[in-house]
């Protein structure tokens, strides 16, 4: 319990630091929402007047404080570009992005675990060599390329889905079907990485003394693998998969644009160029939370699997 408390406090502290850094970095870049909004109509005087009107001239810490207190009380503020409540603006987009990253994660786990077991059993055989080569290839394919490929094959040629026309979350069945393709694009290289990692961990475990002892005692290899090796390999795998979440989120931002998924990715890019800091802050915090929360969850799960971990950083 004490351990859980420590983990959650660390999560909150990380979130605070992330939001502060994002805010500071954003204040450092040239231009403000005023210039962005005025575009080619901007003159120095006009921009100054609009900055004043939007409250962008107030000191940095004051604005951050205002944003933070709003955030804590559940008010994400008003978008400077859309003049709309940020929470309202982002709700569906956040859900779409989180759904997409969740689906990618599920695909990675569903493919990588059985595949790596398959590969471990065939270790050093011809299948293993083929796998190593193929895996190397899949790991190095960038998600946007897989995305383009999938869009052309399944979207344009086979017409199984319509890239660029996301049906919306109000039709969950169709939305999930649509998101399956970007999820595959994100999952392919990461699943390959996971297989490689799992294979390594499992093989290392298999070479340990206790495995040899168990087998020499008469247990058969498969039951040792299932009963002891898998359990021991579980902790590093959970930690690895949690770290994978950061890469999945990065993949989501890229792949969303290829498939035309109206998620947080495009909104983040556009809001940065519009200098719309309430929106950027909100998105950064949502994405960071998703990543940090995954890691915290992994820590908590691992402690249940192996309680010794909680003692290690006492």
């Amino acid at each position: 319990m004490k351990y859980a408390f420590r983990r959650v406090s660390a999560l909150l502290l990380t979130m605070f630091l992330v939001s502060l850094c994002a805010f500071a970095a954003f204040s450092g870049i040239s231009g403000s929402a005023a210039e962005a909004r005025l575009g080619t109509q901007a003159t120095a005087e006009r921009a100054a007047a609009l900055r004043e009107e939007l409250g962008l001239n107030r000191p940095f810490l004051f604005r951050y404080g205002e944003w933070l207190s709003g955030f804590v009380s559940g008010d994400l503020g008003q978008s400077l570009t859309y003049r709309q409540n940020v929470g309202e603006l982002l709700r569906d987009k956040a859900l779409a992005s989180l759904l997409l990253s969740g689906m990618s994660f599920a695909l990675i786990v569903l493919c990588a675990v059985p595949l790596s077991l398959l590969v471990v059993r065939a270790a050093d055989g011809p299948l293993d060599v083929a796998h190593t080569l193929f895996n190397q290839f899949l790991m190095s394919v960038p998600p946007f390329f897989v995305g383009l490929l999938l869009s052309w094959i399944f979207g344009v040629t086979l017409r199984w889905f319509t890239p660029g026309a996301f049906p919306g979350l109000s039709r969950p069945g169709e939305a999930v079907r649509f998101l399956l393709f970007p999820a595959v694009a994100i999952a392919v290289p990461r699943a390959a990485m996971t297989v490689r990692m799992l294979r390594g961990t499992l093989l290392r475990e298999l070479n340990r003394d206790y495995v040899r002892t168990a087998i020499s005692r008469g247990s058969d290899r498969n039951s040792v693998l299932r009963r002891h090796v898998l359990k021991n390999a579980l902790t590093p795998t959970v930690a690895f998969l949690a770290q994978m979440m950061a890469e999945i989120v990065a993949g989501v931002i890229v792949v969303e644009q290829v498939f035309g998924v109206p998620g947080l990715g495009r909104m983040l890019v556009v809001s940065i160029s519009n200098r719309d800091y309430p929106v950027v802050q909100a998105i950064v915090v949502i994405l960071a939370f998703w990543v940090v929360a995954a890691n915290t969850a992994a820590d908590l799960i691992n402690v249940r699997i192996d309680p010794r971990l909680a003692l290690r950083d006492e």
């Binding site: 210039e35 005025l38 007047a49 603006l89 660029g164 026309a165 035309g260």
Partner: protein, 503 residues
């Protein structure tokens, strides 16, 4: 092991079957709906606050002024059915079209027109984000003798005043324009989802009769691959401003219509910094640049070369003789550079907003061409907001490739910015004759005379090599084959009114 493998294969196969089973099939060929792709989201929904050309392009269908532009560049009666101008050309009397309705059902009256014009006039308490119309400072008074009559009295006669009355008329006192815009155009605003889509619907009470298309969904697609994909997959039926490469990749389902972008694309030079403060250097650059080669290399031959801050759609104002004022002449360019004290050339940077691929492509070709006269140009790609802030507002740049548009269909809209005192004179052009010609043109009462003055201003820009003018870029528009009625305008708009599906 074999079992696991088999299970995997089987589940994969089932999965595919499931997906193909509920495939969406062919896109609807004909119907009352239309999906238009747009490359950027709208910057504001309030017609008096929108700045981006891409926003006005779409909202042209939602808002109208007293008059509206025609595809040939004339002004047609819109909310004003007709008007008279007094002999001293100071008093305009407009008779409003009776029974025109706003999208919210209320009738358009002269009070709404007055409200709209006042909202666009700069006063001390005008909000900073209203894009004010300077020409309205010429209005001495507005009178509304009755609900259908509007009398405008001007301080000075102006030949161009009418063209500014294309400004949107909105309901008096209505405060929700920014979230739920209300106008009088053939389409009414339904909804928007940020960075996703804008939905418009046919306004059945439109004074000119309802449009053929019932619902128009404008989908925001910024990604270059996404644009092609969305056309090919059937997500989008029409997409304007495609690149040559994109247009060439489209299949037989589409035809490409070619118009003009109506932009003055040039290598804009900061006339206030060294070495561009020297006329000979600027002229040398003009001689060194081969615009036709730029068009051929970067745009596959699509584009119209220009020689000053005016493009062909402006008809009588466009002076063709200026196009070849500086023929491609390396020798002459080198001589001029030597005279100016740069016999070995110099180094310069070309700042280019990196979100505009055509401008980047142009800059690439320019770099090569300038090498021939020993000028070592380097491209500095910057984000659009940085470009606006540093180059455009801050005027902190050496040279930049950009396209400048005309906000209204007046020569003034293109030429006024280069007067020495103009707030948007980002190249710091400063020429007494030019300022004088502009003042004369403004007080000029005769249209022919004024046209001549504007042409003289264009010539002044060319002779003084204010910028290295390149082209009015071609506008390539992909339309699904059975969609007809595309009309091009001399300004940056997409007219949805005439579009219809042929069966």
């Amino acid at each position: 092991m074999k079992k696991t493998f088999l299970a995997l294969v089987l589940s994969a196969a089932m999965f595919c079957a499931l997906l193909s089973g509920c495939g969406s099939g062919e896109p609807p060929a004909a119907g009352p709906e239309l999906s238009v792709g747009i490359a950027q989201d709208l910057d504001s929904l309030d017609p008096h606050k929108m700045v981006a050309a891409g926003t006005k392009e779409i909202m042209f269908n939602v808002f109208e002024g007293l008059v509206k532009p025609s595809p040939s560049g004339d002004l047609l009666p819109a909310l004003a059915e007709n008007w008279t101008v007094s002999d001293d050309r100071l008093t305009y009397t407009f008779n409003l079209r009776p029974d025109v309705k706003f999208h919210n059902g209320s009738i358009v009256t002269s009070a709404d027109a007055v409200y709209s014009l006042e909202r666009l006039s700069a006063t001390a308490d005008t909000p900073a984000d209203i894009v004010t119309v300077d020409a309205f400072s010429n209005i001495a008074s507005m009178e509304t003798p009755d609900e259908m009559t509007l009398i405008l009295r001007l301080k000075e006669p102006s030949n161009e005043f009418l063209s500014y009355l294309t400004a949107a008329v909105i309901p008096a006192g209505y405060e929700e324009q920014e979230t739920m815009p209300v106008g009088t155009g053939p389409f009414r605003f339904v909804s928007r989802t940020a960075q996703e889509s804008v939905v418009l619907e046919r306004f059945d009470d439109y004074w000119g009769g309802p449009a053929a298309i019932k619902t128009v969904t404008c989908r925001v697609i910024e990604n270059a691959d996404g644009i092609l994909m969305s056309l090919q997959s059937g997500a989008v039926d029409l997409f304007a401003h495609l690149t040559i490469t994109q247009a060439q990749q489209l299949t037989d389902d589409f035809r490409i219509e070619q118009g003009a972008m109506n932009l003055v694309q040039a290598l804009y030079l900061n006339n206030a910094v060294e070495p561009f403060n020297d006329l000979r250097v600027r002229q040398a650059l003009c001689y060194a640049v081969d615009k036709q080669a730029v068009i051929d290399l970067a745009f596959d031959g699509f584009g119209f070369p220009i020689g000053s801050s005016m493009y062909p759609a402006f008809g009588k104002y466009f002076d063709e003789t200026l196009i070849d004022y500086y023929p491609h002449d390396i020798q002459r360019a080198k001589e001029l550079l030597a005279e100016a004290g740069y016999p070995d050339g110099f180094s310069m940077t070309i700042t280019v907003p990196s979100n505009y691929q055509p401008h980047l492509d142009t800059a690439q070709v320019l770099v090569e061409q300038l090498k021939e006269i020993g000028v070592n140009a380097e491209i500095l790609p910057v984000e659009w907001e940085t470009w606006l802030n540093d180059a455009y507002i801050g005027r902190n740049f050496e040279s930049t490739v950009i396209g400048v548009d005309a906000s209204t269909m007046t020569a003034r809209a293109l030429l006024e910015r280069f007067t020495s005192s103009a707030g948007n004179n980002f190249i710091n052009y400063n020429h007494e004759d030019y300022d004088r010609l502009f003042t004369e043109a403004q007080s000029c009462t005769d249209d022919d005379e004024q046209t001549a003055l504007y042409r003289a201003m264009e010539r002044n820009l060319t002779e003084n090599a204010a910028n290295v003018y390149i082209q009015d870029m071609a506008d390539l528009l992909a339309v699904r084959n059975n969609l007809t009625g595309v009309r091009f305008y001399p300004i940056y708009v997409l007219d949805l009114y005439g579009l219809r599906w042929e069966s």
